[in-house]
């Protein structure tokens, strides 16, 4: 079969090849080397440098569609925060994120969450905060106005942690796990921008890979301290946490191997497709 014919091959054959090649590393991990990106390193280092007792906002702004990327990011970061003795206030500005967020909290703090030691003093789960951008801005201005009860119906005025976390001036770090809007753009505009900028409300974020290029200008300006880039960022952060706390499992290795194989395959497809295109154009065809 000539290259020009290969360029016009039925896409379903490509799906089959992709399925087979991506499955191999998942069934038998290749254990490829894992370089840690500067963006991930900055999230880890900044979190690590926070003194015990600092208040971290963990915002689950994603849906089941991006659970593969966002959930391991958020889970590893919350575990890291817990081990460092940071106080975690978790919430979601996406209604779909509230349910996933609760499952993450249960995985990190125990299946009995919220009936665990330290609930109300070291950790609080507020659940879904309605209002999108308006909800975010209200939460930054006055947390109890945005959500007067936690996810389980307890009045926040009775929770000691929420007495220490009244507005954005009390946030030592905002960790934004996002798959769209409202997400990182809105946190920067309506919380960080209104309350003193990056030095007053530092932000780290874990995002779906598709949205990271749009976040890079914020990263370059320092409005975002660091970014976990999709599944790769989740794997890198998991690896760093696993090195510091071996009890936390590094589970994303096979996924990253599979992703590398998948990317190589797509690069090969693109090269072959372009060679076929050039050949067919050179021979006087339409080239499409």
């Amino acid at each position: 079969m000539s290259l020009s014919k290969i360029a016009q091959i039925d896409r379903r054959y490509l799906y089959v090849v992709l399925f087979i090649l991506v499955s191999i590393p998942l069934l038998s991990p290749l254990k490829l080397p894992l370089p840690i990106s500067a963006q991930t390193r900055r999230v880890y280092d900044f979190t690590n440098a926070l003194p015990a007792g600092s208040i971290v906002i963990e915002s689950f702004d994603f849906s089941p569609a991006s659970i593969t990327e966002n959930k391991p990011q958020a889970k590893a970061h919350i575990f890291h925060a817990k081990e460092l003795g940071l106080k975690v206030v978790a919430l979601a500005f996406w209604s779909t994120g509230a349910t996933i967020g609760e499952s993450i909290m249960k995985e990190v703090y125990g299946s009995d969450f919220p009936n665990v030691a330290g609930y109300g003093t070291n950790v609080v789960y507020l659940g879904y905060v309605a209002g999108n951008e308006v909800g975010m801005q209200t939460f930054g201005d006055d947390t109890s106005t945005a959500k007067s009860v936690d996810h389980y119906g307890t009045d926040v005025s009775t929770l000691p942690l929420m007495q220490q976390c009244e507005d954005a001036a009390d946030f030592d770090l905002w960790a934004e796990w996002t798959a769209g809007d409202p997400g990182i753009n809105q946190v920067i505009q309506f919380v960080q921008g209104r309350h003193g900028g990056p030095s007053a409300v530092p932000i780290v974020s874990g995002a779906t890979a598709v949205s990271v290029p749009g976040m890079m200008p914020y990263y370059n300006t320092g409005q975002i301290i660091g970014i976990l880039n999709g599944l790769a960022g989740a794997g890198e952060y998991e690896y760093l946490v696993n090195v510091a706390y071996p009890v936390y499992p590094y589970t994303q290795g096979p996924s990253l191997d599979a992703q590398s194989v998948g990317h190589l395959l797509i690069i090969a497809f693109v090269i072959i497709g372009n060679i076929g295109y050039v050949i067919s154009k050179y021979r006087g065809g339409k080239g499409s």
Partner: protein
């Protein structure tokens, strides 16, 4: 071990895993060919999403405005005002009172415009300009002795910002030095789109890997593995696809043809004035267009 998903009680874990396998395979069968099972799963997803959103919004509204010491249940009747305003959205469905629907829309649009202007100007405009102006090109911060040099990156950023801005400058024709600048700006934009496309591929690949790991790794009490069900799900798709193929196909829609003028109403006779004037091109009778041939996607 079945990973916990939301609020699924343990006694339904096996059912959830079985359901998850079938749903995953059915939705991916769309890549082979659209079939009744893939369509059914799409509809299921949309229905579930709609119901979930409705329930979440109702719960959020109740907890924001009704339940609480300072809310309606605590005697603070001021919260009735936003509830009434939000209920005015439902006048969208009334022809007679449709104008009332415009009030909540106007309020929300006004609030959002005010908020966005302040937020955007600060975070997306002033902060970005400040950061670009302050980029170090010389000195210790430029780090020319490392690879890649920070100074070089900063020069590329500055060139990119200026040339891309000139690309969107339409006062003068893009010729001469401006033409060169816009051309470079176009290459920067293409590189940005390429990066965005690459990231999109990466994100989609991640989702695919997530589903594959679900299929390969989900188990229940050491006797059930999710991948046992993959061949059964594939068999279901093949059976349904064959059944659909065997069904009699509906007749193709009749081609649209121009209707002949009714015989009972002959065209009015031209008056003397009209007969004297030469017929304008616009007055030419429209020829019946042949029915457009539909393009096949395949």
């Amino acid at each position: 071990m079945i990973p916990p998903v939301g609020q699924i009680p343990p006694e339904f874990s096996l059912l959830a895993a079985i359901f998850g396998v079938f749903i995953t395979i059915f939705i991916y069968s769309f890549l082979w060919k659209e079939n009744p099972l893939s369509r059914a799963v799409e509809h299921l997803f949309i229905g579930l999403a709609a119901v979930f959103t409705l329930a979440s919004m109702y719960e959020a509204a109740a907890s924001t405005a009704y339940w609480g010491t300072e809310k309606i249940s605590g005697g603070n009747l001021l919260w009735i005002i936003p509830i009434l305003i939000s209920l005015m959205y439902f006048f969208f469905f009334s022809k007679k009172y449709f104008y009332l629907y415009r009030y909540p829309v106007a309020i929300v649009a006004g609030i959002m415009a005010g908020m966005m202007i302040c937020g955007m100007v600060q975070s997306n405009f002033l902060a970005q300009i400040q950061a670009t102006v302050k980029l170090p090109l010389i000195g210790a911060e430029a780090k020319w002795d490392t690879w890649p040099p920070t100074g070089l990156n900063n020069i590329i950023i500055i060139i990119g910002v200026i040339t891309v801005l000139t690309f969107f400058f339409f006062t003068w024709e893009h010729k001469g030095p401006l033409g060169v600048s816009t051309k470079i700006g176009r290459y920067f934009l293409m590189a940005t789109f390429g990066a965005a496309y690459g990231s999109t591929v990466m994100a989609r690949m991640s989702l695919f890997i997530g589903r594959l790991r679900f299929l390969y790794e989900t188990s229940y009490e050491d006797w059930f593995w999710a991948w046992y069900l993959i061949p059964i799900a594939v068999l279901c798709i093949i059976i349904v696809a064959l059944w659909e193929r065997s069904r009699p196909k509906p007749p193709p829609p009749a081609p649209v043809t121009a209707k002949p003028a009714p015989a009972e109403a002959p065209p009015p006779k031209p008056t003397e004035e009209e007969t004297a004037k030469p017929a304008s091109p616009a007055a030419k009778p429209a020829a019946a267009k042949p029915a457009r041939k539909r393009k096949s996607n395949g």
